[in-house]
């Protein structure tokens, strides 16, 4: 550590790599915190945790007893244990007694991405409510046709204020805070929708995972989804291999503006830079010919299917039945650079998808069992190196590229539902069915001031 600081001082190590080294070292020493504790007032299992996106200071938790609480994780409310253990009590709690509070379990509680003045909760009582944080009042109410499993707001949104809500109904609904009404419904899934996530690279792209095992990508400016992920379409390696030059008469598939533009750019770069060969990583001995045929499966009108009713071209994707998992999709997470998507399914598999090519990268995460009935919340570090997954009663940290387990966090007494990683402080917060929120911090050296005080007038025996 000191050597690194000296190197940074002398200019041998760049600032970014120095910061990354410190962060990854701290990450590798994560353990149950012995100096920080969050006192949870909830009387039901904790279903959702989120740290606010602007300052990473306030933690919002939603529980099964219809209560929502906010904690300040940077400043403790009081100290115990002779000043060594910081207790963080909730700043405020909203529960069933509140006149406009939820009546049943809260499945999702998220902050308004711009600031902490608002937060949004979704509950099994079919309502999505928008709350004002300072007065703890309900500002807006949206009624959904079924239990709300997940709500999400885009962290990049500059021109819209839409809340995407996934419910047990087959349609995804977008609720608009600006107008107070449900502005859009996206259809295509064939069963309830357990997880909803916005893309971190575009404010218009939404990813949803359903109980039918499909993961769909939606561009909310158009009808229908433009991609359905298929677990059998895979690529060997982090990025797909460079495609061979296509035949001149290759037709672009009606896949949507984004994918078509990607194909145009790939073919242009191929024809332009044939000599400069950028060798792709990982054993890429296979040519992509086998994939080239399958790539155009979405959007192709079956030749013999003309007897079926004519669908709008954007809705053709509803007939695509590709599944990403053999069970329901219970968790989704888009990495912060927007290039990869992690999905957890009730078939106890976690898959890593390349967002641009839409393929399964075949990284095998060693999970034995995952929770199947409730959606789980995954967390990743900022430069996606580690992914934290709640596996039954433990939380496991996997290396995202090789799938090996780096760390296992065992501390909860019952199943863990959600985890949230704060990249600023390298702290992990986990909440589970045992009504506890546990904090996992990098280990801290005990400072000398601890021993000096009470030990002054005692003999220093060696036992």
């Amino acid at each position: 550590m000191w050597k690194d600081i000296g190197g940074r001082e002398a200019g041998q190590i760049r600032p970014n790599s120095f910061a990354n080294r410190v962060k990854s070292h701290r990450l590798s020493t994560l353990q149950l915190s012995n100096y920080k504790d969050i006192v949870s007032p909830h009387k039901g299992s904790i279903n959702s945790l989120q740290v606010d996106l602007t300052e990473e200071r306030y933690l919002l938790s939603g529980a099964s007893d219809s209560s929502v609480a906010v904690y300040d994780v940077q400043r403790a409310t009081d100290y115990e244990g002779g000043g060594h253990i910081a207790k963080h009590r909730s700043v405020f709690v909203v529960d069933k007694q509140h006149e406009h509070g939820h009546k049943y379990a809260i499945s999702s509680a998220i902050w308004y991405p711009v600031d902490t003045g608002l937060f949004v909760t979704g509950s099994y009582d079919h309502y999505v409510k928008v709350w004002d944080t300072n007065c703890t009042r309900v500002v807006m109410n949206f009624k959904m046709p079924g239990k709300v499993y997940r709500t999400a707001m885009s962290p990049l949104a500059a021109s819209h204020m839409l809340i995407a809500a996934g419910t047990e109904d087959v349609q995804v609904r977008l609720c608009d805070i600006a107008s107070g009404a449900i502005s859009q419904t996206l259809s295509g899934h064939r069963d309830g929708i357990m997880t909803v996530e916005w893309s971190t690279s575009s404010e218009w792209i939404l990813v949803t995972g359903g109980c039918d095992g499909a993961i769909r990508f939606w561009d909310i400016r158009r009808a229908g989804c433009f991609r359905v992920l298929d677990q059998s379409q895979s690529q060997l390696g982090r990025r797909p291999p460079l495609l061979k030059r296509k035949r001149p008469g290759y037709k672009f598939v009606r896949n949507g503006p984004l994918v078509a533009s990607m194909m145009v750019s790939i073919s242009k770069s191929l024809s332009a830079g044939q000599n400069s060969s950028v060798k792709p990583r990982a054993p890429q001995k296979r040519s992509a010919n086998g994939n080239g045929v399958r790539q155009s499966s979405v959007g192709r009108i079956p030749a013999k299917g003309s007897v079926r009713q004519r669908l709008h071209p954007g809705m053709l994707s509803s007939q695509d039945r590709a599944t990403a998992h053999y069970g329901a999709v219970t968790g989704l997470k888009v990495t912060e650079d927007g290039m990869y998507l992690l999905s957890a399914g009730s078939d106890s598999r976690i898959r890593l998808w390349d967002v641009e090519s839409g393929r399964n990268t075949l990284v095998n995460f060693e999970t034995v069992r995952l929770q199947t009935s409730k959606p789980i919340q995954l967390a990743t570090t900022q430069d996606p190196a580690v992914v934290f997954v709640p596996c039954m009663t433990a939380v496991k940290a996997f290396d995202i590229w090789s799938g090996k387990t780096c760390l296992t966090f065992r501390g909860h007494y019952e199943h863990v539902n959600c985890c949230c990683f704060s990249s600023q402080d390298q702290e992990l917060y986990t909440g589970g069915n045992d009504r506890q929120i546990l904090v996992w911090c990098p280990s801290r050296l005990i400072s000398d001031g601890v021993d000096a005080g009470p030990m002054q007038d005692q003999d220093n025996w060696s036992d």
Binding site: P302, K304, G305, R321, Y326, S348, L362, N364, A394
Partner: protein
């Protein structure tokens, strides 16, 4: 000390006598203990060796298959296994089938073995004087070649046929597909009426033995005081309910995560994994 393959021999004389008795009664491929041969370097090597070690089952004539969980316990890096399997699948060296014995169970069979298995089924159907047997030929030459995934849709079967089957039959009709399902080569998917899984024919009793054998091993270990046992001793037990041998089951259970192996100074210990 005698040249024995087991590393834990604290009582040489007694073990020598045991080994002599073992060597007389057991078949030749038992001389390699599981402990020594648990991991391999490469997926293809692992597949070939496990295919050679496939137990001989008396009543059913079935070609060797390997479970995907067995591969995970045999090669250290699971991602490497997945990727090598994918490239072998694309090269048409082997096929992957989804089994219905549990979550995410897949069976891997070399393509030649699978074609042999289909041939046996076709011969048996010929003896029963079935008609429309050209479907099998079409299936082997065209469907297996173009559809590499474990599942196939109804539309793909029907529409993919007109390019190849016109000379033989005309069009693939429902009776052809029923014939394939009766032979055990295709199975309907429970979730989706339009999709079929590719399946290995005549494998039903073996799969039943597989799930019963798994349960037997897990319950045996659960009844022990510390839920663990030395691998060398566990290997030698005979299973009552499964025609497949102990080594097959152990590789499968270790790979799927139900059992874990711990290195101890006296050898490997197999333990039920909590979680």
């Amino acid at each position: 000390m005698k040249n024995d393959t087991n590393s834990d021999s604290s009582k040489p004389k007694k073990r020598r006598r045991d080994e002599e008795i073992e060597a007389e009664s057991s078949s030749s491929d038992r001389t390699l203990s599981l402990e020594e041969n648990l991991t391999f370097s490469d997926t293809l090597v692992a597949l070939r060796i496990m295919r050679a070690q496939f137990p001989h089952i008396d009543k059913v004539s079935i070609r060797p298959f390997i479970l995907q969980s067995q591969l995970y316990s045999s090669v250290n890096d699971r991602t490497q296994v997945d990727r090598e399997l994918e490239s072998l699948r694309r090269e048409r060296v082997l096929r992957v089938f989804k089994l219905n014995t549990g979550q995410d169970d897949h069976a891997i069979m070399f393509l030649d073995d699978y074609l042999n298995q289909i041939e046996c089924v076709v011969k048996r159907m010929e003896e029963k004087k079935q008609v429309n047997l050209e479907v099998f030929e079409w299936f082997q030459t065209h469907v297996l070649d173009s559809k590499l995934e474990p599942s196939v849709g109804h539309e793909e079967l029907v529409s993919g046929s007109d390019c190849s089957l016109l000379s033989i039959v005309g069009k693939v009709k429902d009776e052809h597909i029923s014939l394939l399902i009766n032979a055990g080569i295709l199975t309907r998917q429970l979730i989706d009426p339009d999709m079929y899984w590719f399946a290995i024919p005549n494998i039903g009793s073996v799969l039943k033995g597989l799930s019963q054998g798994r349960k037997e091993i897990i319950s045996f270990l659960n009844r022990r005081k510390y839920k663990e046992m030395m691998l060398a001793l566990l290997e030698k037990k005979h299973l009552r309910f499964s025609p497949l041998d102990m080594r097959f089951h152990l590789r499968d259970l270790i790979g799927s995560g139900h059992l874990k192996t711990i290195h101890t100074p006296t050898g490997l210990v197999v333990q039920i994994s909590k979680d």
